[in-house]
Assembly symmetry: C2
Homo-oligomer: 224 residues x 2
DNA sequence: CATCCTGTCGAACGTTCGTTTGAAACATAC
DNA sequence: GTATGTTTCAAACGAACGTTCGACAGGATG
């Protein structure tokens, strides 16, 4: 009984701290203090700091990715038989679950995702590799179905840009509000999702096929 | 003589390590070892670890931001008198200098930018606040001139998304290559700039004005 | 020559880190 | 009751951290 309580209390504390200070900045003493647990209990329940962080991440990432795939399946089923699914809907299946499910779990869930992706501590390598091999491949294919002009490489680049916009946005909304002041009003979850999806869908649709032979002339003044 | 040599050797080492392991992960012992300098020399020349990181960042950020403003000035001068500057050109002034100048300085310059922005160690607060107050405001205005439909808040959101796509892209190109395999071919600096500018400009242009009264209904599962 | 300033260097300071240990506390089964 | 397995706890381990200190070398200035 108390064993599971301790486990989840530690996971909750780790999630908050990962969001606020990242993996390198999170000390097990801070975790156990916040969880009102003993220092040794982390290594008892999880084995190591890396294993704890990994568990805290996967606890949240699993349902988010499941929801992504579920929404994508629905989108594709609704546009079966030659009809191309709209880019915007595919993008939304990728973006929305992160923000919406995270805001259900708590304010720090999304920040934890974004911080870990940005920091990429060593223990995350295989987790991310596997995740992108499944989720990434699946959405790259869906993007190509929605926008047949895309090559495989194109689709991966678009996903890459989307992940960047998504993670950075969710991690640093606070800073922009501080910097831009009242011009940058606080936003609801729905508004952020809408803005982000519109931006990413527009970016994907803006793609113009590259001809590898034609080398673009770059206007001087910019130049490289 | 040797004094300046030591200083720049330390800055170079710090830049590399900030790019690879971030601020929290960078130890002064690792810095001095890589710079072939004495451990105490960091505090002698810079005063503290935070001051060193700040110096390493500003050494590179200053010319990048200057180039951004220079290119933006050129774009706006070329479209004076009622003519709206193209969104793509404004976006490019913001994006290209980071990638192009960084690749001149060395492979780690851009990664350092991106890691620090993602990590946001405490010492960076005032640096970023000041930078976004000048560069951010300037480009937000330029975006609104290029795309008059944008409100101030809209423009800041677009910039926010652009920064995310930019930083994430430049920091994690390597991972995507590893994950996606040969599908995700290595890219030249020019190609990355082109792809990124196309995506961001498309995202900005895709903006549709929001009517604050009309609350959008969200269709469960897919999109709205 | 002596003096001063600038840098370098090895060594140590006090903290904090992740991890381990061994004993106590607890619940469950016989 | 005793025995068994699980969980908590205080304490300590060695290692690594940022920082500080005093001694020492080198060249410029008097």
């Amino acid at each position: 009984m108390t064993a599971d309580d301790t486990r989840t209390a530690i996971l909750d504390a780790a999630e908050t701290l990962l969001a606020e200070v990242g993996y390198a900045g999170m000390s097990l003493r801070a975790v156990t203090q916040r969880a009102k647990a003993n220092l040794a209990s982390v290594n008892y329940h999880f084995g190591s700091k890396a294993a704890l962080a990994r568990a805290a991440l996967e606890r949240r990432a699993r349902p988010v990715d499941a929801e992504r795939l579920r929404q994508l399946d629905l989108v594709e089923q609704a546009h079966r038989g030659g009809k191309r699914p709209p880019v915007r809907a595919v993008v939304r299946s990728f973006v929305a679950p992160v923000i919406e499910l995270s805001s259900e779990f708590g304010t720090s869930t999304c920040s934890m995702f974004c911080r870990l992706i940005a920091e990429q501590p060593p223990f995350l390598d295989e987790v991310l590799t596997e995740k992108f091999a499944t989720i990434g491949r699946r959405f790259a294919e869906a993007l190509r179905r929605a926008q047949p002009l895309l090559t495989i490489a194109d689709a991966y680049w678009q996903l890459h840009f989307m992940v960047g916009a998504l993670t950075h946005t969710m991690q640093h909304v606070g800073m922009w509000q501080r910097v831009a002041g009242p011009d940058f009003s606080p936003a609801s979850t729905d508004e952020i999702v809408d803005r982000l999806c519109a931006f990413c869908a527009g970016g994907v649709k803006a793609h113009e096929p590259r001809s590898p032979s034609r080398r673009k002339t770059r206007s001087k003044a910019t130049s490289r």
